[in-house]
Assembly symmetry: D2
Homo-oligomer: 468 residues x 4
């Protein structure tokens, strides 16, 4: 690194710091990178989990004795974590796995299938109702204790929750970070390597112009090694759309893969039909579209539905693993994750500039979407801040499918923050997954779902369970 | 009438002047009004029909010997009709009734029911593909022969075709006129009279603020006699939404009524759910919404599906009737129709000012819809021209349902005028009535419909029938 | 009047109800009209003046024994005046005549001449600094005591103060009313009568499309009796621009006329140069333009500068006159004033619809100006509320001159309401009248003016007098 | 350079390829860089000059025998230069130095001083009238012969001419490149070095957020080595605004410096008053502002007025120098210029990404300016194209000064391209330098200037010299 591009010492507040997933990736990446002198304050409602992560983090930090020093603490209050922080990371679980199970199971009784259930559709909607008030509280605390901090939100539904942060504190410097698009960058690199006859490129060499909203993202320009990859990609999509494609075959014994990966059939089908690359994972893309397009035949389209029951088992394994690490088990081998967050932090603090696709309010970067809507495009991370890069506009056929979701998300945030309970049902029924129900059934579904989660809702919102 | 508000002599070019419907209303209204000295030039591809109407019009004109003189001629060319005209009226049939029958019947085989089939949905889409090139030709002729004329479009799909006129000749002074909203003004007057205990008001006394797109229109403010009628209306809607309401019972023997009227159940249900009045007829409203909301159960919701076969019979009766009039049968009694067109013409020419809801490009009158989109709001007709009145914004839940239709219509006009055949299918499949089909079926439906009407399409568009 | 267009009884709160000018016009107009059953509550910091007006008003009301009853009361508190009012009229004096004299005299020492000094220029700017906090307080009281009321602002600077009302209470139903444009409507009627060879038309028969900002307004379409008057007007302007024109010659003995009327030279010169009619009075138009265009040679351009000393004498006469009326002197003969306010109130309450040019936030009616800017265009008054009518766009050359004033007004309101004292000087120096000073002199001028009026300013703003 | 970031071979068409200034910088930079395999086609109306440059270029290319090969040709037609080019560079002289002398001298007789006279003010306006038709012709040729090429415009007035390219060919991939802002980046680096006590940084290490229009640019965020430099800069400006500052003292014997450099007094004065850094050179900034602000006292403000007579002498020297090089004189030593163009080309062709401030149509990157206006902000150069980076908004006080210039430039391009001669004078008189003239004088000035240059204008525009 050029001597003029060093990283200043940085204080990171991690809200949801007992996390078994993101927090450990951060610990690993900081250790692996070794150039960021950081103090990481972990805060979690489950304080013991934060403490465990602090201990594990300290072990990670110790591994890299030549790198910049990183220290971990578990904080007892949100204020203690936030006050004076340079960076805030938000990665919380809005509700329990039982809530998440309900988000999937209740709609299923109305024949609405959801592959993930955390973004749009009935599951995403009700999850948002739970999460918006929680995130709003965090946003207000940031306004109070560290208004100048950069804030990275990792929590889903990402658009809705990043929008909530801006709604309660418009000057916040927040972005939403999601790595879904890496899949598409990988395939671009793959195609470039195939053409070159040797492995020259990794996904970081694939430059892509991202446009869309989180989990419903597209790529209309791509280049690897200075070469336009869109023609090659579209040919490849045409060639493989009928059977799908995987770099390595699906191992039927690997439950995680079965539930979390896909075979590019949906991405290729959409790419072929709309003329640009669909970028997010198939499991996410399909939830934005009418049930009968893909979800009804998920086996044919070769993507998995993620059972919450599996998530619960997986979580237990992670808990066990964390406990083991805490008790001295060997740390996993040093390897950077695919997450961009450490690179983003470094760029903000004076390290090498970084461009990646993130979720930000529309300030002009995405034509066709309302000002202020949370949209996903590339942004430049530098000491000047996080600046969106103008991305252009979706083809009309895709804009027609994407924009109502964005408008609904805006309206949902506004309705929850204003306690406008009456506005919720009309928004709920207009989601394409719900729109396929007769109105009386859609109303019943909404009330059932709200009732099931009402203990997690502010009193006013909980009333929506019984609105006529 | 105040002496200072007289109407100047006016030359009216009527394109589609052989019409059995609108043209005769105009003749009757001009005779009934008696204050507009007019020369009406009828032009029709079916010249004999224009000539017949010219003769019938002359009879109407003769009836009013004290009123301003009106003369009728049948013109052989579009140019002869348009050159120097002050007003142009466009009322054409885009294709034959056989085409219209296909627009309904083919989707029906895919279980897509349409109550009218001339606005949105698969029927409206393919009708638009036929009509846009026809109207574009008329628009270009207006630009050439009478660029200063005021142009009233009466042809459906109204938004799309009014948009086509502006696309080919941006300076055109065109508006789209549609009387659907009168139903809602009538019910407002009815409720005011009921409260007064006597019949004080007619629909012209009901002032309403209209917002929407043609056939999917809403009213968020209404006043009769200076009194806000929205609360009374919403109460009435709540009271009657379960069973519907008709001022006079439906006569089962009256086929026309059965197929063209409704029982306000859809309007009341939407009003109740979204908090403002749904203004267009139920048969039109339902086509903008998912099949399962109303169309699947049209009998339960008490609105008729209009059989094209009935339209054919009805047309034959009208032809017979016109022939009879032509041969000397007694003219119908003098009575103004519900159409506003004569009032609109008078206001433009210096008569009393007139405000009514019409279809115009969005120049700021309708928030939430893209600039230039054809929207339906009130406008002021005066010698200063046709000026839209700022209408405000729909509740979010309705905007979510309406705006994608408007965006699709804009994109459809652009695609047809640029011969961008590949853009059509992605637009077609995103219509809510079509979105309920798996994509392979939707594609098949599109190709079948295009093939069925390909003899009416320009060569480039006809290719869409066989596009992969 | 049609029985269905009656006016409901109306409660009017008049803030500044001791006014010697507007309040008496209202009393006269209500009496003359005779159809509005009204309760008028007069509120004024000078309570005795409000009481006097209440007594005089009662005499007016008594005159019309057949008309609708009007009653007048003087209220002791703003709350008592506002609570439950249907209509609020705001007509206050922001500061004393001494303040106004300073607004003119101090800039004059820097060779900046102002003909009025209450709208833009240094005088308008500092007057706005005094008035914004006063109007903000009234706006907040309206939000509290009568949020549903229609609010007519008559106070200058009109754009800035109407903008202040919307800034503190965005849901307010306020408009700014100003009769400047009547002069242009009168000339349009004059030209139509001249052509007709007889007096057929009054200014109310002249329909004009107004666009601009208050006191810098233009007319790009005009019709009388259905005939387009723009060509005749532009010819007339060309014919008379060199010498000006007055319907009746200026009586040099009439001081008021000398100081308040003009000879149309500026209007005609601007009309000739920009191709549309300049509509406001010459004295107002010139203040928006560089000093050397007209103000430097006001005698050549034949418009008066209004001496504040004359205003003071005139005011004393009005006080004397009011005292006399209060003591029983004969009321002036019944004659409607040129003010539209009674017609506007009637239209809102259910009387005949009314269209006139008023000041409203830009909701789309005026292209080229920022959303929310207070602009002057026609609006429709009806029981549906006050709805702006889409007016189009100024020719570019005029937009370039007008828009920076509007942007400055927006920024000024925002800066005063946020106590952003540092933002004031940069705004002040960019006004074309001030921009002609070197920056050190402009800064001195600003501080002198602020210091002179600091006793009328909130403490924070007063600091601007000493800002480096 | 990473092997994956190589530059593809590139064909560069240089329009104005006989240039003595920019073209030689390009030759030097390509030789110095050594990584871009390029074919450079020089085209110039003065074909001999293009041939001379081709020969000189070949000498430069020969110097670097290890670098990528660069070849130079002189082309006889614009078509031959453009056909199939990857990159087009436009650097022409709109008119002769005699025209430029008139642009300065005629206004001077009206007491309007201009320091440069090529951007705004009367000189910039008339220069634009000459140049727009020339650039329009080049733009249409690009549309025809190399529509996919990236096009770099180096010709002034830059905003107007870049806007002309987009007006005649909306799909063009053009940007306007100008190095004015480097001065501000240098001072940021200087301040960072001063603080560090050693020379760590060059201007390339200074990251700045640029906003404005060409030659009236500002910087509201700056960082060197990850440290926010705005506070240090504003302190420095405050400290030195009274006397100015130069890194090295002005050598009075150096005529070029005397006429082309400044002492930062204007930049510092503006920075101090508006709170952000003024970024362009003083000589340019002052022309956007009223005469009395700075131009009237240029000696006091310590910036030079550039005499055209000096430009002529300087040009002759450059011709002599080129002739000498052509005859074998030693090439100047290898050293990269401050121009970013080679870095920009490399980034577009697959080399390292590059961010710099360039002139592009506003697609959302600059709030407060109309869509499509040519604005100057940072943009990302990569194989994905030239993508503007969202820059935010100017403080209101500056926006008020800048936006009318941008609006005037837009209107000027439209008027010239539509031959709307009548629109020109109203635009001309609204420029702040002209606005200080009474209108009859302003009109005379306009006609004199147009008449003086009429031999360079299309016939229609030349008429403006005699418009009433």
């Amino acid at each position: 690194m050029h001597k003029t591009e060093h990283t200043r010492p940085v204080t990171i507040a991690y809200v949801g710091g007992g996390s078994l997933n993101w927090a450990t990736k951060l610990m690993g990446d900081l250790a692996q990178d070794g150039t960021v002198p950081a103090t990481v304050r972990l805060y979690d409602l489950d304080h013991a989990a934060a403490e465990r992560n602090a201990r594990i983090g300290t072990r990670y930090a110790a591994r890299s004795d030549t790198g910049a020093p990183v220290t971990y603490t578990a904080e007892c209050t949100l204020e203690a974590a936030l006050r004076g922080a340079d960076i805030v990371i938000i990665s919380i679980l809005p509700g329990s796995f039982e809530d998440m199970a309900n988000d999937i199971a209740i709609p299923e009784r109305y024949r609405i299938r959801q592959s993930v259930g955390d973004t749009v559709g009935p599951g995403g909607f009700v999850r948002a109702m739970r999460a918006i008030p929680m995130i709003a509280e965090i946003g207000r605390a940031i306004a109070r204790y560290c208004p100048e901090a950069y804030v990275c939100n990792l929590t889903n539904p990402m658009s809705v929750l990043t929008g909530t942060l801006y709604a309660v504190f418009p000057e916040i410097r927040a972005w939403g970070s999601c790595h879904e698009v890496i899949k598409t960058r990988k395939i671009m690199a793959y195609l470039a390597n195939r053409r070159a006859g040797e492995v020259l490129y990794g996904y970081r060499d694939a430059k892509v112009n991202v446009l869309g909203i989180n989990h419903f993202t597209f790529v209309d320009r791509a280049a690897v090694g200075g070469v336009n990859m869109m023609p090659a990609y579209l040919d490849f999509a045409k060639e493989h759309h009928a059977n799908g494609w995987r770099e390595s075959p699906l191992d039927p014994a690997n439950e995680h893969d079965r539930y979390f990966t896909d075979s590019f059939r949906v991405k290729f089908d959409l790419s072929r039909r709309f003329g640009i690359a669909a970028a997010a994972g198939d499991r996410h893309l399909v939830e934005f579209l009418p049930q009968c397009w893909y979800l009804d035949d998920h086996a044919v389209w070769k993507f998995g539905l993620t059972p919450v029951e599996f998530r619960m088992r997986e979580r237990q394994e992670k808990v066990n693993c964390a406990d083991a690490l805490d008790k001295g088990a060997e740390l996993p081998p040093a390897r950077a994750s695919d997450e961009a967050i450490v690179e983003q932090i470094k760029a903000l603090m004076g390290g090498p500039e970084h461009v990646s696709n993130v979720n930000l309010p529309n300030r002009g970067q995405f034509a066709g979407f309302e000002e202020g809507t949370i949209v996903e495009t590339n942004a430049r991370f530098s000491p000047l801040g996080i600046q969106p890069i103008v991305a252009g506009r979706l083809p009309k056929g895709l804009e027609l499918l994407a924009r109502p979701h964005a408008d609904r998300q805006n309206a949902l945030v506004a309705a929850v923050l204003c306690d406008d309970v009456d506005a919720l049902l009309p928004l709920f029924v207009s989601d394409p997954l719900v729109a396929a129900l007769p109105q009386n059934k859609a109303t019943r579904l909404f009330r059932e779902m709200v009732t099931a989660t009402q203990h997690r809702l502010p009193e006013t919102l909980a009333k929506a369970g019984g609105v006529a």
